[in-house]
């Protein structure tokens, strides 16, 4: 029963969602809406679970003095400071939370993302080589798109943006579409496996 009840719940909930999608009238539409509302509530609690897990993971790292445990300490201190100021002093403009958000969190997060430019430059210099025909094609396409997608490309030669657009619209889209179709088929098959109880890895311990 310990295994069968979750399987039955999964099957019934999945079936209700599928029926609600294809037959949006009552009772299926209402049932789907009710499950959606439950999902939103569960999703909100999942955030709490996520924070709890984060705290647990980094506390263990600090306790065991694992490599880089100092960063875990900074993370937990930052998390505690933001949470405590947010809960007790509010998050409106003029509060400590607001100040930390705009002057610490946002610039630091943006900096982390912008580091990509430096790593792309370094990696492309060292590893982006025309070792064979496929790599050469990728390299030429990459260069043409990089030049064609910025204003300076148009200034150098008006044909660059047209070539970049063609690469994006034809070969890129063909590849992306194939990937999307593959992903979608994968999602459908995994969903069916879940609903039919063939895929049971979500039942931890079983």
């Amino acid at each position: 029963m310990k295994r069968q009840i979750p399987l039955i719940i999964t099957f019934l909930a999945g079936l209700a969602m599928i029926l609600g999608y294809f037959i949006p009238h009552e009772p299926f539409g209402g049932l789907q809406q009710m499950l959606n509302t439950w999902y939103m509530v569960v999703a909100a609690f999942a955030m709490i679970l996520g924070v709890g897990n984060l705290i647990k993971l980094h506390t263990i790292k600090i306790r065991k003095r694992k490599q880089g445990f100092g960063y875990s300490f900074v993370l937990l201190a930052g998390l505690a400071a933001m949470a405590l100021f947010g809960i007790f002093r509010g998050i409106k403009p003029g509060t400590a939370f607001y100040w930390m958000w705009w002057n610490m969190h946002v610039p630091m997060s943006s900096t982390m993302f912008s580091l990509l430019a430096f790593f792309v430059a370094s990696a492309s210099y060292r590893a982006f080589r025309a070792r064979n025909i496929e790599a050469a094609l990728l390299l030429v396409a990459g260069i043409l798109v990089m030049i064609g997608r910025v204003p300076i490309g148009d200034m150098v030669w008006s044909g660059f943006p047209a070539i970049a657009n063609w690469i994006m619209n034809v070969p890129n889209t063909a590849g992306q579409r194939a990937i999307l179709i593959g992903i979608s088929l994968g999602v459908v098959s995994t969903s069916l496996r879940l609903l039919l109880g063939i895929e049971r890895t979500y039942l931890a311990g079983d």
Binding site: G29, A43, M108, S110, F118, R131, M146, V150, T173
Partner: protein, 280 residues
């Protein structure tokens, strides 16, 4: 060590310094490269331009602090355009971090345009659940968002009178940096409820969405800071997007030069190795 080897093994700090200069110098000394508008951005602009005054557009702020420099300028350009046209934005966020950016963008643009909260625009705030929230909006907006971001019941907000679900919204715009984002909005708002969907995303994720553009599932798309700069060009209001384009142009050229130098050293070395093997 030969010159080629020296160039090949150049210290990465030198590469980082060159890239930093390529970005910082154009930011400090702008050149003002002319910006050409791409069809995907033009289409988005045209869709919003053709909306009747008083229409309601749902804008979802689905991005975080890391992608703020790329996507925030798009939100400013879109809001300025909507307010100029008299279109009323309904703001929401499926990412918790998106809402503060929406508030900042609204604070600036509504002050410029002299718009009133609750009459000309509304902020519904964040809601957890992603794709499920999108589905719920198709049935009842009030069920998904009983209150706005500041705790006012939806029924008490003049702008929300008569807005039941997607049927009463002219279009959805998603400013997205990942999941939940554009694919989910396309799947639910466009695919299931037949609503027009437009979007803005980071430059790295833009190529994924060209399939949706070609299929007509997305009416238009702004990709990265370039997309924001193009939209600013269309509304004739240069701002953050345009300011970043010179730096991006120069950085792209520098990276291309790095790739070319790297490949020259690769071919020279390979030719040398080939000669050595012939001799031995």
């Amino acid at each position: 060590m030969s010159l080629v080897e020296k160039i090949r093994n150049i210290d990465r700090r030198i590469i980082f310094t060159i890239i930093a200069l390529a970005i910082i110098v154009p930011l400090l000394i702008p050149v003002g490269f002319p910006i050409k508008v791409s069809p995907s951005v033009r289409n988005l602009y045209d869709e919003l331009e053709n909306l009747p005054s008083g229409s309601k557009v749902l804008i979802s702020f689905d991005f975080g602090a890391s992608t703020y420099p790329e996507i925030y300028p798009m939100s400013m350009a879109i809001l300025r355009h909507l307010f100029r046209r008299g279109v009323k934005p309904i703001i929401m966020g499926l990412w918790p971090e998106g809402v503060p950016f929406a508030e900042r963008a609204l604070a600036v643009t509504t002050e410029e345009a002299g718009k009133v909260y609750g009459e000309d625009y509304v902020n519904l705030g964040f809601k957890a659940g992603g794709i499920v929230v999108m589905q719920a909006l198709g049935r009842s907006l009030e069920e998904a968002f009983p209150e706005d971001a500041y705790g006012t019941p939806i029924g008490d907000i003049p702008l929300m009178k008569g807005v039941r679900n997607y049927d009463d919204i002219a279009m959805v715009i998603d400013l997205s940096a990942g999941d939940p984002g554009i694919p989910a909005w396309v799947m639910i708002a466009q695919g299931r409820f037949g609503k027009k969907v437009g979007g803005g995303c980071t430059a790295v994720s833009a190529p994924q969405y060209f399939a949706y553009l070609q299929a007509g599932q997305l009416v238009g798309l702004m990709g990265g800071m370039k997309g924001a700069a193009e939209y600013e060009t269309l509304i004739k209001r240069k701002d953050l997007g345009t300011a970043g384009m010179d730096a991006q142009s120069v950085a792209h050229v520098v990276i291309v030069i790095f790739i070319i130098i790297g490949n020259i050293t690769f071919f020279v070395e390979r030719a040398r190795r080939g000669k050595k093997e012939e001799v031995s």
